[in-house]
Amino acid sequence: MTGSRDAGCRTAGRWARAAVMALLAGCLAAPVVAGTASAHVGSLGGAGTPQSVPFWLVAITGGGLVGGSFLFTSLMTDHETIRSVNASRLGLPSAATLRRVARDGARAGGVLGLVAVLAVALVGPAGSANAAVLVVWVGWWAGYTATTYLAGDSWPALNPWRTLAGLLPERGRERDLPDLGAWPATAALLGLVWLEVVSPVAADPRVLAVVVLGYTTVTLAGAATFGDEWFERVDPVSRVFRRYGWLAPIQRTDDGLALRLPGGCLPGREAGDRSEVAFVVALLWVTTFDGLVSTPAWNGLVGPVVEVGVPAPLVYLAATLLGFGTFLGAYRLAARYARETAGTYVSAVAIECRFVPALLPIAAGYHLAHYLGYVVGLSPALVAAVTNPLSSPVLRAVVLPDWFGGIALALVVLAHLVAVWVAHAIAFDLFPGRLHPIRSQYPFVVVMVAYTATSMWIVSQPFARPIAV
């Protein structure tokens, strides 16, 4: 004890001497740094009323500050604390941690979004100004879908039903899905779009809540029975976003994400079988059908049939299936003729499967043309409704300038140009030489020219509320 106290006294004495030395050193240095110090003081002119301080006092203050800080640090004598101060650090989280946080955030956001939509749809104000209606149709089906082909498919991370299915208790072995290919997804996609057209699900929040609850029940039951395969193969929504994701510039690769030209990796893709071809054709048809039913010509066609006494939902169902059948038939016929014009033994099914990615830019372009004005126009209403979900705001919309319709037409044409390029690349990948690939595209070009003209006509039509639904 005594020894340590002696040592303490000696140390204290050394510190005192050192402090005095530091002060003296400060005084001695005063004339040298005086000029600089005054300049610095002068530069703080705006800080307050300038007071004239003699140079030597400025210099002594500087020295005193250094000396004083030494005295302060000397109060800290614990080795551990000194080490811990120097060892403290701020590290960036690793890529794996960031990915996990982003994934968990997306999952939580998706589930919260679903719960919020359901809650607001059930208890919020009635009518199409309800926040849930706007979020689902403007925010999600129009806006979010556009991000899956303009940026990349983020749905596997965001999909609230997938997250919820992961939380379900394990029920032993999952059953294998019966081998129906993409047919169930195709039927479900056509069914959902038919429901959207014939029911007030796009305007009535209560109906929307029922449809979302129904979809939730079916999806969770399917995922609980068949596991993740359900989202890979049966769930139409996941499949739509996955197919649109093929077109996107951001692509997932084995070592992270890659930036590609939009549509650049489409020639590298192909449909696995005829059912997957049918799904892509159905995707193209439903985007077209969505626009077709709101044209005056459509009303003129359906009106008399409904007046005769045929129930309107039945007419729309027949039209949905007939249109899909026509599109699929035209595409298959084109593939069969392509076999002839290309002079090849490659089977018509193989040609269908390889060329079908070329339809995706058209579906995406048509979706964008159809919904761009809708999203831009209703975005103020969406923001107003989301920030105040339980009150009933006035549905405000941006009045779009006249030239906006030209953008929609240009998008349709642009999408077809991308499709022509993709089909060209696919043909050169599939057939040898240079003339055979070109000739293989003849039947597809004929079908596409007819389709372009039809879809441009639909996009340019004035909006008419579908009658009798």
């Binding site: 002079g343 033994y345 490659v346 089977s347 099914v349 040609i351 990948d429 040898p432 030489g433």
Partner: protein
């Protein structure tokens, strides 16, 4: 005859020709036709010129000198045909342009 020609499948295709990594496409040959087939992957073709083009493009590092020559001559013949074809394409573009211009002139007059 190069030794590679007997072991076509263990050679790496050059990156340039392997634009995409699809499997060989499924084919269907009518029962009454006798196709020529690729000696490396077995794909059937209607004409030997098409097969020569296929071998030259897809099996560039495996084929024999004779097949190389067949590829060159098939490509040569195709180039001649392609020249005529391009003339027709230009003519068709001209017609398309003229028809559209005429239509606009009539409609806007």
């Amino acid at each position: 005859m190069s030794q590679h020609s007997t072991v076509p499948h263990d050679t790496d295709r050059p990156a340039a020709s392997a634009a995409t990594d699809h499997d060989p496409p499924e084919t269907a040959v009518p029962a009454d036709e006798e196709p020529v087939t690729c000696p490396y992957c077995g794909q059937p073709f209607r004409e030997s010129a098409t097969r020569a083009l296929h071998v030259g493009e897809q099996h560039a590092d495996a084929h024999s000198p004779a097949e190389g020559e067949a590829y060159e001559s098939a490509r040569e013949a195709e180039s001649d045909e392609l020249f005529i074809y391009h003339l027709r394409v230009i003519a068709a573009l001209g017609v398309l342009y003229a028809v559209l211009v005429l239509l606009y002139m009539i409609v806007l007059a």
